[in-house]
Structures are given as structure tokens and as C-alpha cells.
């Protein structure tokens, strides 16, 4: 069996410089610049913080041959609730980002780079113990049509009520009526 053209591993302190140079933003969109800024300046500190290091990892997807960083994925556990009385455990896709150089590109096997990054996050969520894959949730800017499409391809198909800011859409994985 041939190896995939990508590698996925958990980020560590030694990746700080690499993440600080990660480029994914469309400079014309504030919301896109914010994603890049968070990855460059905050993500590693948050992921390595006490209490978060085991639960909320950063996954790095790189090209196997060149070791070029293709994308970054991070997720965290949270609760959804109306008023704190009834809590729905969920996993938030904190960041899913593909580097500028890989945006819109596919691996030679035909897989979209964005699908590999998203699949890395979903695989990690699915394998967590205790389980945390019941609900996966994401907040996406309404103008970020590529990310909205990516979320929908991976099952985040239901739109929740608006976040506190109307510019953002909250998507969650599908539920069937009991």
C-alpha cells in the first residue's frame, strides 16, 4: 500500500516559528486576516496551555515530500446551551485553514488539500476518548463561501441561529429526529 502524499501530526512547541510564518489570508477580507493572525500569534499558546494540551490539539498537514505546511486544523470541546440548564456537548472546529500556496489545489491522487485538512480534524475528533464526536460545530463568516462549502461537504449542514454577530453563520453536524 502506498503512503499518502501528506502527513498529519500534532503540533508542538517546536512548531512555533513555522506557525508564526503561516500564510492563509486574503488581505482584502478582515475576517480572513483574523484567521491568519490567530494561527500566527495565539493558537499554539492556547493549544499548549495547561488543561488544553490533551483535549484541544493543533493538527498540521504537510506535504510528504517537501514537508511544506499545507494546512492547520484545531478543535476544542465546548457546550451549547440556552441558559446553562441543558447542555449539549459539542466539538468546535476552532480553525481550519489551508495555506495560500495550497488553496484550491489537489494532491496528485485527486484529493483536495482542504478536504485532507478537514478530514484530519474530523478523524481526530472521532478517535477521541471519551467520545466527543456527537456534534461538530463551526462558526464561519457568511462571505467565506469556500469554507461554508467545505463544512457542508463534511456534514456540517444545519444552520443554527445567528451568532452574536450577524456576519457569521453557525453550522453543526446533522441530527435526526428521535
Amino acid at each position: 500500500m502506498t503512503e499518502p502524499e501528506w502527513r498529519v501530526r500534532v503540533a508542538s512547541e517546536s512548531d512555533r516559528v513555522r506557525l508564526a510564518g503561516f500564510t492563509c489570508a486574503d488581505r482584502t477580507a478582515r475576517w480572513s486576516v483574523e484567521v491568519e493572525k490567530v494561527i500566527r500569534t495565539q493558537l499554539l499558546d492556547w493549544a499548549l496551555a495547561p488543561g488544553a494540551v490533551e483535549d484541544d490539539p493543533i493538527l498540521l498537514v504537510s506535504a510528504r515530500g517537501s514537508n511544506e505546511l499545507v494546512g492547520v486544523a484545531a478543535h476544542e470541546r465546548l457546550f451549547l446551551s440556552i441558559n446553562g440548564a441543558e447542555m449539549f456537548a459539542a466539538t468546535k472546529l476552532y480553525v481550519i485553514a489551508v495555506s495560500r500556496a495550497w488553496q484550491g489545489r489537489r494532491f496528485t491522487g485527486g484529493q483536495r488539500a482542504s478536504d485532507v485538512v478537514m478530514s484530519a480534524a474530523m478523524s481526530d475528533i472521532a478517535e477521541r476518548a471519551p467520545p466527543r464526536d456527537a456534534r461538530v460545530y463551526a462558526i464561519v463568516h457568511a462571505q467565506n463561501v469556500k469554507s461554508l462549502a467545505l463544512c457542508r461537504r463534511h456534514g456540517l449542514v444545519h444552520e443554527l441561529s445567528k451568532a452574536r454577530h450577524d456576519e457569521y453563520v453557525r453550522l453543526v453536524t446533522e441530527h435526526r429526529e428521535r
Partner: protein, 192 residues
């Protein structure tokens, strides 16, 4: 709190964050104000007594409160913040009800709220619970400072939520359903 729990790194980060705030222009203005005020005024301020909303000292306190809130919501610190922060939403003779931004409410003995100079509806109050053991709890009421909505941080999808992400009744009805299995489109092995 972190030092007591043996979390040296986080305690040091807390101390560094506090040092940065203490080196800020707002903190220097506070020091200047306190050094020129009579002891009674300083004591009153430290205990949380109200100051006129548009006074210079109120503006300085709001600036410092915003800086502190920004630090507190950072992920590395959020998990160590035992405070319940909210506004007094109702009161009786014996207690006040404090409700946070997520809609969660707790009752606080009125005497504690009074000691913190916060017992009127709409006022901000923080409550810190420290467990002594399984059956004993120390409750501390801290006067809150209203930083004002006009000064609130702009919305960010990366902001840490305090307790839970808020949804509405329609969302909750949907989430009570049976979650479908996750779709993993591409098999991925994560190297450890």
C-alpha cells in the same frame, strides 16, 4: 490560584500579564490618583464604592477592567477563572440574583452583595467560589465594574465563551435529535 494548585507556568504567566497591566498608562494614572487622595477615599475605592460615572477615576478603572477582562478570557487563563460574573437581575430581602451574559443565574446572600457595594438591580457583581472540601465552600463577592457596551470588544469567532455558547430554543430542539455519524471523507492517520 494557579500557584496554590502547583501550576507554576500558568502562575508565572498570570504574574507577567498583571505586570504588563501594572506598567500601563492607565495603571500609572490610578497610582497618581491614589497617591493624592486621602486614606478614606482610597479605602472606599478599593472596597468597590461607586464613583461618579464620568469622573476621571471611573474612566481609568473602566480601562483597567477592560484590560483585565481581555487577559482573563485568554484560553490559558480562562480555565483557571473561578469567578461568576454578571449583573444583579432581581433581589429579595435575603439575597440578590446575579445573571451572567449566558443567562445563567445564581443567588448571592444579600449581605455579601452589600459588603461589595453592589445590591441594586443592574449592578455588576463577581462571585468567586473556593471549595474547602466536598461539603464546605467559601464564597467571596467582588464589586464589578461596568465597562460599558460601547467599549466592548468587537465580535470574534475565536473569542472564548464563558461557560457555554448560547443557542436558542429552536436550536436546542434540533440538538435533542439523534446525531448522525461523522463524515470522514478521506482516511487520515495522525502521527503521534
Amino acid at each position: 490560584m494557579c500557584a496554590r494548585c502547583g501550576e507554576e507556568t500558568t502562575a508565572a504567566s498570570f504574574a507577567n500579564a498583571a505586570a504588563r497591566i501594572e506598567a500601563s498608562a492607565a495603571f500609572l494614572r490610578l497610582q497618581g490618583f491614589l497617591s493624592q487622595s486621602p486614606t478614606s477615599a482610597v479605602s472606599s475605592l478599593v472596597e468597590g464604592a461607586h464613583v461618579p460615572e464620568e469622573s476621571a477615576i471611573a474612566l481609568v478603572l473602566r480601562t483597567l477592567a477592560r484590560q483585565t477582562a481581555t487577559v482573563r478570557l485568554q484560553r490559558r487563563f480562562a480555565k483557571h477563572a473561578p469567578a461568576f460574573l454578571g449583573r444583579i437581575s432581581s433581589s429579595t430581602e435575603g439575597y440578590v440574583v446575579v445573571t451572567n451574559e449566558g443567562g445563567l443565574s445564581i443567588a448571592v446572600p444579600r449581605g455579601l452583595a452589600r459588603a461589595a457595594h453592589r445590591e441594586r438591580i443592574g449592578e455588576c457583581l463577581a462571585v468567586i467560589n473556593s471549595h474547602v472540601d466536598a461539603r464546605e465552600l467559601i464564597v467571596r463577592a467582588i464589586p464589578g465594574i461596568d465597562v460599558g457596551r460601547e467599549h466592548a470588544e468587537p465580535y470574534s469567532p475565536f473569542a472564548r465563551v464563558d461557560g457555554f455558547e448560547r443557542i436558542n430554543a429552536t436550536d436546542a430542539a434540533y440538538l435533542r435529535g439523534q446525531p448522525e455519524p461523522l463524515r470522514i471523507q478521506i482516511p487520515v492517520t495522525i502521527e503521534q
